[in-house]
Symmetry: C2
Subunit: 167 residues, 2 copies
């Protein structure tokens, strides 16, 4: 396969996978494009390669910066903004994990806790609280593991995890 077609395939594959994770397709594609680019890209570059509008580029690049996985870069002699993606993939994984944890796991925990406050002692309520409690417990476990992963170093994490986990 030729390099450019491989890059495009990668960009488009990433985009469709993102959809199943509830992430905007274009956002994923813009990120993928920046990730495999050897030089900083301008809004125009992105518009042209992905065939999308200026507004769309702007919105999605801002979102990526917001997620902490893309940065602005100044190019000498150029007035417009250029963008680069952090090339450290482990760092990328940690950033995404951190962001999704904050946006999606923490609010769950909050609601679960709030719902525990049912003032009812029927058998039915007991069962409901039991379910809520179990959900909290598992969610907390996952949350803690993610916390550790965010702080950990890749190799250290993997080797320790494997050590702990293997029979």
């Amino acid at each position: 396969m030729k390099l450019d077609s491989a890059k495009l395939k990668y960009i488009h594959t990433w985009g469709s996978l993102a959809t199943s994770w509830g992430i905007n397709k274009t956002m994923a594609q813009v990120h993928a494009l920046l990730l495999v680019s050897t030089k900083p890209l301008s809004a125009e570059d992105i518009m042209e390669t992905l065939q999308i509008s200026r507004g769309n580029v702007n919105m999605n690049v801002r979102a990526l910066i917001d997620w902490g996985i893309v940065n602005k870069e100044f190019v000498v002699g150029e007035r417009k903004e250029f963008f680069v993606a952090d090339k450290d993939i482990w760092e990328l994984f940690k950033q995404i994990t951190k962001e999704r944890k904050k946006r999606e796991i923490e609010p769950v925990l909050k609601v679960l806790e709030e719902l525990q406050q049912v003032d009812d002692n029927s058998e039915d309520a007991q069962q409901f609280k039991q379910v809520l409690g179990d959900l909290s417990k598992v969610t907390n476990t996952v949350n803690n593991i993610l916390d550790k992963a965010i702080k950990a170093d890749e190799h250290w994490l993997l080797s320790n995890f494997t050590k702990a986990i293997k029979k």
Copy 2:
């Protein structure tokens, strides 16, 4: 808060959270309803509680059965089907993990591997392969950890993980 309103709040909260994870809202609500129900529910019961159509109930209940987190149940003297959700939340977590891993992580690994076959040795191609390799490595790490989690027992996993992870 009253029990029924707490249950409804739980069901609706779960539904909107599901959306951000790329899971159909109704599917999540049906599951939540079955999870907090003390008895098996029929399609009619679900239609009525969630105010959705028969076709919608059917599609989503099938999907939940497909994910392995809901089961059919026969009720004596009744001809129609009833449904129950597995109440073991850790089991639920494992099932969901298993399913998403299969649907979303494994295909990524396959594509990444395929893309490595670029027959080009330019510096640019080297960098591209480097990115692909790094993505594979991190994705594989996550995949392995999930594999272990799926097989593990909750308490054992948590305690071992914590042990390994803490300084």
